[in-house]
Each structure stands twice: as C-alpha cells, then as structure tokens.
Symmetry: C2
Subunit: 367 residues, 2 copies
C-alpha cells in the first residue's frame, strides 16, 4: 500500500499534523480492537469444546490479534441451560453449544442439532449451506436475538452404556436412562424413564444405581467418564443422534455491529471449526473404541425390534409436535424430503461404496 492509498483508506484528505491525530479512528473502522466472550455449553474435557478454541484462534490470527474471543467452558460464566438467555440478553456476544439443549424452551430448537432418525452429517451440511437450512434456522433463532452458524459435528453417536442386556422392547420398560431431550421423549414412549444428569454426575449416578444406563457421546469422550467400568453393554447406533451438530450462537446486535470483514472472518472460522470437529472425532474414535473393548466393553447392536419401534415412535412424536407447533412443522416438512432424497442417492454413491468396503474390512482385507 502506498501512502496515497493509505490516506484514501483512512478516509482523510492529505494533510499534515492534524491528519495524524485523526488517522486512528478511521483505521479502527477497518480493523477495530474487539474482545468478545464466548461461553461454551460443553466442558473442556470433551472434543465438543474444541470448536470454540478453533474459532477463537482463527479469528485472532486472521485479524493480527485485533479481534480476540475469550472462551469459557460450561458453567465458568454461564451454565449450559442459560446459554440462549445469555445470548438473547447480550450478556455474552457469543456461544458454542448444541441447539437441542434448549428443546425444553421449544422443541424446534432440536433441528439445529438433530432429531431422532433425522439427517446424517453430510445431509445436515447440505441442508444448512445449500438447502435453506441455515436461513430457516436463523429465522427461528432471530426471536431469541441469535444469529447461528454450524460449528461442528460428532457423526453418529453411540447408544450408551447399559447394565442389562436388551433383547426385546419390553426390556426398556422402567429403565432409568440418562439421555437428553428429544431422544428421551421418544424413549419414554417405549417405557424408558429418561433422566437428565450433567456429565460430571453420570459416573456416580450409574455406580450408585440412581440410573440403570447412560449415554454420553462416543468412544473417545465416553472413555474419559469410565462408564465401561460399571455397565459393560455398549449399544449402537445412537439413533437419537445420527448427526449431532453444534452451533455458534451470536447476539444479533453484536453481530450487526461487526465490520463486514469481521463477519466474513467469523463465518470462515466457523466453517473451519465445523470441518475440523468431525475430522477429530473420526480420527480419535476408532482407537478409543479399541481401548474400550480391550477394557471389557461388550459391543451390542440395538435389537431390530427396538430400532423399528423407536423409529415408529420418533415419527409419531415429530408429527405430534408438528400438529401444535408451526415452527416445528416448518422444520420437519423441510427435513423429511431432504432425508429421503439423501438416503436414496447414497445407495448409489457413498453408502454403496461403504457397504462394499465394510465387507472387505470384515474379511480382514483392508490392511
């Protein structure tokens, strides 16, 4: 940049000493010093926390340290349950969390994360970025002063640790199972007694028999909780979380005040966080699974009858919400055809490929 363009950039007529004094605020408009706080809905011990730091680091690097975002884990400044309220009130400018934690406020919050038997991770990204998903979500979130960007995915989660083996749908009756909002609503229809318990208390609750089973995330994060030491039956797949997406939430007023360049910087950093979290889970889970199996975990698929019945009930629950909640209906009507088209097309592409590769993996031919 030569001096002339610098002066033009600074919005100044060429001039002497007076120009020096005026230069600072004009440049500040382009690269203002900003310090934001971001509250995470996750503890630092799980990979789901990482996108917050990926975003903060990227934003700082891209702005030469002019825009910094301080990250806080769940509960440090805001408890997970209060994240939406905090963003709505502008107590913090930013958050990173799973939208479905606010399912109790409105079940439509689930669609930012996933619904039982919903889209898989690639279908979610397709819907978010090119299928109108981001726009539909942000029209909903706007009522809470939230502007949201996809911020990572775990892929399909595990179905949790169960003391007793499951053989029939009846085996679910009366089981006290630690599970989040929407999954719990469906499982309740099958007789499960859903329990809401924070991560730090899961081990003790399972050990003391307060609960009979608990789901958390997947091998890498579950291993840290040590649930395999109490309940060895490790069920799959976690059909209530086929693709658990987390989001960055921004207070809309704080977002609107950002220079356009900073908005673009945050959007791109969020995309980096989105692709990296999935990559990290995919990298870490296989080895963690092997360690858990070596430590005695018994891998068990949910019986077909449980899968079929829970699928049926999930559809019923979604239709029930749709009947009374127009926002929910809008999302469900958008997700259903996207899901059908995705799972149709993949039979010719990725699912066909993965199916073949799986047969070779089972035959020991991939090494």
């Amino acid at each position: 940049m030569d001096r002339r363009s610098f002066i033009k950039k600074a919005g100044l007529a060429a001039g002497g000493v007076a120009a020096t004094a005026l230069a600072a605020p004009a440049i500040a408009q382009t690269q203002p010093k900003l310090n934001w706080r971001l509250t995470s809905g996750f503890p630092k011990t799980v990979l789901f926390f990482n996108p917050a730091d990926v975003l903060a680091k990227a934003v700082s690097e891209m702005t030469d340290g002019n825009f910094t975002i301080q990250t806080f884990q769940n509960g440090e400044i805001i408890a997970q349950a209060n994240v939406v309220d905090a963003i709505q009130a502008g107590t913090v400018e930013a958050a990173h969390t799973c939208s479905y934690y606010h399912f109790g406020k409105d079940p439509a919050f689930a669609f930012g994360t996933c619904v039982p038997y919903g889209l898989n991770p690639r279908q979610e990204n397709a819907w978010f970025y090119y299928g109108g998903g981001n726009e539909l979500l942000n029209a909903f979130y706007a009522k809470y002063n939230i502007y949201a960007l996809p911020g990572g995915n775990s892929g399909t989660q595990m179905g949790g640790w169960w003391r007793k083996e499951l053989k029939t749908v009846d085996d679910l009756k009366g089981v006290k199972f630690r599970v989040g909002g929407f999954g719990g609503a469906v499982l309740a229809k099958l007789g499960v007694v859903p329990q809401s318990i924070p991560a730090g208390d899961i081990y003790t609750s399972l050990e003391k028999g307060v609960i009979d089973a608990a789901e958390w995330i997947g091998p890498y994060d579950d291993e840290k909780l040590g649930l395999n030491k109490i309940a060895q039956n490790y069920y799959y797949p976690g059909w209530w979380e086929g693709a658990t997406c987390c989001h960055f939430f921004f207070n809309t007023a704080a977002w609107a005040k950002l220079p356009k360049s900073y908005q673009a910087i945050v959007e791109n950093a969020a995309a980096m966080a989105n692709v990296k979290l999935q990559a990290q889970y995919d990298q870490e889970n296989p080895a963690a699974l092997r360690r858990l199996v070596a430590a005695g975990a018994q891998l068990r698929p949910f019986p077909d009858a449980i899968m079929d019945e829970s699928f049926k009930q999930a559809t019923i629950v979604c239709n029930e919400y749709s009947a009374t909640n127009a926002e929910f209906k809008k999302f469900w009507d958008a997700v259903k055809p996207r899901r059908n088209e995705g799972f149709l097309w993949e039979q010719l592409s990725d699912f066909a490929y993965d199916s073949f590769m799986t047969t070779k993996q089972k035959a020991g031919l991939l090494l």
Copy 2:
C-alpha cells in the same frame, strides 16, 4: 483502538509530522494490497470449479478487498496438465485442482485426491487434518514448490455411462473407457482400454464410437454432458473415486511472503470451500439423479465379480507402486490402517445408522 495503540501497532515512537509519513508502510505490512491469480483445473461448468470462487470471495471479504484472487477456469491461462509446472515455476501463485491429474508425473500425487478403494470422504478429512495427512502431502508437494490445502470433495462418484451391460469380468475386456489415471491403471488389469479424453470431447467421442463408455463425476455434472442420451447404463459405485478430494495449491515462495494473517485467512477460506463443495454436491446430486432416471438412465450396480476382482487388482497395483516408489509407499502405509480403522468404527456409528435408514428409505417410510 486508541491513538496510543495505533502508534504502537504502526511500530512508531510517538512523534509529529515524521510519524505520519512513516505510518503507511507499517500498516501496509498488516493489510497489504495483493492480487493473485488462481488457475483451476476444472471448467466453470462443473461444481468442482466452485471452491476457487468460494475462496476468492471469502479472502476478498475478509481483507476488505485488499487481497484479491482472480480465478481462471481450466485452459484460460493454464491447461490442467500444466498446473503443477505453473505453480512450481511461480507463473501463478495459486491453483485449485485434483492432485491425481498429475499421477503421470508421480503416482504418489493420487493420495491428495483418492486411490481406488481408498478412504471415504470423512476418513480423508480425518487423515488430512488430524492424522498427519496434510503434513505428509506437503512434505511430498514441497519438491514441486507446492503448499497444499484440502479444497472440497464430491463424495463417492458414479461409475460412468456404458453402452453395453456388464455381467462378468470378461465383459470389460477391450472396452474403450474414458477414465482418469489411477482408475485406468487398475481397470487395465481387468482388460479395459483406458482413454484419456477432456470433458469437452467426451460426448462426441462416445457418440462416434471412439469410446464405448465414459465416466465423469456424478449426476449433477454428468447431466450437463448429456451422456445418458448415448449410453443408458449408469453404473455405480465409482470405486476408483470413493472420495474425490480437490486441493488448493500455492507456490511456496508466494505463500511464505504472505503476512501471517493472510495465511490464516486463506487457510480458513479453504476450509469453507472444503465443507461447501461436499454440501453442494450432496444437495444437487439427488435431484439430478431423478431427472436422469426420468430421461431413461438405467441404474446398475457393478456386478460383485467386477467389484471383487477390481479390489484385488487395486491392491496389487498399490503394492507394485510401493515396491518401486518410496514416496508412494509412505502414503500407502499411512492410508491402509486409517482405512481399516475407519471402516471398522463406522460399522458401529455412521454406517450402522445409514444402513438402518436405508431400509426405511426403501420401505418408503422416510417421507
């Protein structure tokens, strides 16, 4: 930013008129005016071209237009085959292409894109970002003055348009098939006569009988070529491209000259391009597939015998290259266990979920 921090930032001691004159270059160091050229290995008509524009737009927005990247489609300034040479010589600062187009230079180039029966898209990202893949690739590319970043994926491609139906491995013998480097090397072992033909000539070549079959990408891009009008048998899956990743290539000297903030900006923009291309293919392919079927395309899975034999030959080819090419061996030794662990873990997670959802799709229960 207050005046004091502005002055500190500009690297100046506080002072009068002299400081004004010195301010410009110091600020220029942070946000210099730059204009780069990026040559794409793709024509503008395919989705694979889009990441180039996604990157250019994002970089410009993030730098308030100070760093602009002009994009050119294949052949406008550099032909696809010469992309690596152009980057190596610094003729252009940037490119976006599939690494495997340079398979003829060294078969190890394939690993940036995919090898037949290699990693799936999520396994690739896991390997790139967290499994040492980016580092291994860049150690290889450095010999060509290339610094590379993943820049999009199509997912599993289709197996192309064939005039004649395939029933046995023998049906492949003598078939003149338009197909790229590595896939062609494996198919040649099965008797196929691989043909290298640029996109613009595929239709005519197939129509005139110069070739008997042709593969391109997937439904959305294939539809534009109109190959279904000549050869109705549309085979799947494209096992030689289970996950076709494209990369951004940067001349290492040009990259090293970028301010750190600009490097970060390009890295994050590339991640945005990476996640968005896959999302766009996943969004567009299902509807294109329906249109192709309505226009007469016959969907046919490759017969088991062809899948099994080509898998066997792919392994042989990879082992042959490994025996004589140390770089190739390094990649193959890294990819093999990653592939095995991925396809093992997914049997409990995403593949288990997708399998169940596929049964429901087939039963018409996803709508």
